[in-house]
Subunit: 377 residues, 2 copies
Amino acid sequence: MSIEFHVKARAGTARGGGLLTPHGEVETPVFMPVGTIASVKGVSQDVLEELGVQILLGNTYHLYLRPGVETVRNLGGLHGFMAWPRAILTDSGGFQVFSLNDLRKVTEEGVTFRSHLDGSSHFFTPESAIAAQIGLGADIIMAFDECTEYPADRARTKASMELTLRWAERCKNYFEEHKHEVPWKTVSTQSLFGIVQGGMDLELRKESAERTVEIGFPGYAIGGLSVGEPRERTREVVEATLQHLPADKPRYLMGVGTPEEIVEYASLGVDMMDCVLPTRAARHGLLFTSEGKISIKQARYSQDSGPLDPNCGCRVCQRYSRAYLRHLYASHEVLAQVLNSLHNLSFYLDTMRRVRHSIQLGEEFRFLSGIRSRSKP
Amino acid sequence: MSIEFHVKARAGTARGGGLLTPHGEVETPVFMPVGTIASVKGVSQDVLEELGVQILLGNTYHLYLRPGVETVRNLGGLHGFMAWPRAILTDSGGFQVFSLNDLRKVTEEGVTFRSHLDGSSHFFTPESAIAAQIGLGADIIMAFDECTEYPADRARTKASMELTLRWAERCKNYFEEHKHEVPWKTVSTQSLFGIVQGGMDLELRKESAERTVEIGFPGYAIGGLSVGEPRERTREVVEATLQHLPADKPRYLMGVGTPEEIVEYASLGVDMMDCVLPTRAARHGLLFTSEGKISIKQARYSQDSGPLDPNCGCRVCQRYSRAYLRHLYASHEVLAQVLNSLHNLSFYLDTMRRVRHSIQLGEEFRFLSGIRSRSKP
């Protein structure tokens, strides 16, 4: 057994379902918090469980550099290493090699890049990226792709897409030969998802989707977005690409977005999303609430005895005032990051919970109307 | 009502009892975690409750500078501001003025000092320090004293002690006139404790104790220790001073110590202690365990799948491996501070819980034998 995916309800183009993994069921559409280096920054695993997180994302690039794949493998894979019994997905490192390395060198064989930590030189191939992900032992792992830069002309976009397709085959071949080397004690195996590229070109996106589906994966991701393009363009590409992905397989949109955006993408039929935004914004004092964004560092909150979000049931909103949160942030107390991250994650997870509820009821939904207003009695 | 203190059991010179405050009962001897600026660094209030913390300490010097006394008063005092319904004690700022300010200027009237944050100039008098503490609204507040530097000759020590005694009178007078200005909704008032000084001179300590008792307070602290003197000297001064404090009043030893030391001072008859050591050490990766101190940053732990402390029942030891804690520390993850602080506080609180249990059984105890061995089944 690896994964099973079932669509159970529909509302317009949106779908609600369940993704059964070797480490538990994930209700979809789902927002996956990012635990870059085996920790969701500032949030302990028991708090994540309490928030109802069913699947976490880990970054292969970061974990490969620190603590290293063999260390994680020896400690039982990511589940054992970080004491997280629920589902995990790892990316392939392709995006970090693209975004964190100005000096990367891409060849047919793979990518040479320098560590952002110490400048040391490393080489990732489709095979080594899959080997690393088998060692890390997430439930779902991702093909090693080239994230096409933005902007890029058609020739460049096509060449990049073709490379990603050739790499997808190599990833699948390597995975099939080695999938039983996963560091789990059960007989189940991981699931390898393919990634659609093709830049902002809708025809290339169609071709990439069809040829990735031809190779055949148990799930498909849309990569190469949120790389600097306007948001309307992102939406257009997502909508166009989704049409060419099989309805019976999970669809994962990588690296998005704001609360409004994740609701919108779910309405288009995306099943899985991840983003560092809730935790990164929290570290900068930017908090998402049912009444809009709040920059808690502002002096206007220094005497505000009200809760951060009167419609939120999280531990932070139930206990602390805006004045206290503002004080913690202004005083550089580490508890500011802890509490802000907890709230923002709670807000994202609640948002998706409401999306799933709307889908079950067969209702259309939009962030600014239905989803938000339903949170008020 | 302010506080009530009852000694309920004795074992040698040690006493076990209960301190009833306007915000709940505190079992003694007690270790008070330090929430310098209205936050125990890295640990949220619900975790403190879960750890069984019954009383927290706040620092008037820090809170006076940020967010300011009036802000805290307007938000219901420290209890309301930091959403902590249990007991709180504030120090007077005397120690921080001493330890954080090389340029302080002491006169009969008070102390001029510079903020460690922005260099701005401030003036504390016994009266203003008490006014600040009334505004902060802790259950127990402390007289404004001069912490005598170490080393100091007899003349200097005596002059400093005399100043502290004159200030103690002024503190008491101001407090009696203003104690009903506390920002609580109940009719209870705060309790003001006196502080014994006298440097390392046992005769001056005796004189300071007797004359402070003569002024009359509901509790007495031993100040001016842990200022650089050898540990055997600290113990000697504590032991000598305790003999001159009334048996029916709580005795608070300020700013100590290691787990071994807090057990030792409890065995001498100290009822209350506080120290930043558990949280500060945690930030530096130094962890206290039943098997001794562990520096979790060491590479030797990078593959260690065992718990931090096999005899500890805290959330950290129940869930995570030493390898994971080492990884978090080495990767500068904020969760390292969160988990390390939680464990160290748990270790301190468990240590004192065992001390209280031994006292109830009328047993003598020492850290290295009874207290530690009792933690093993």
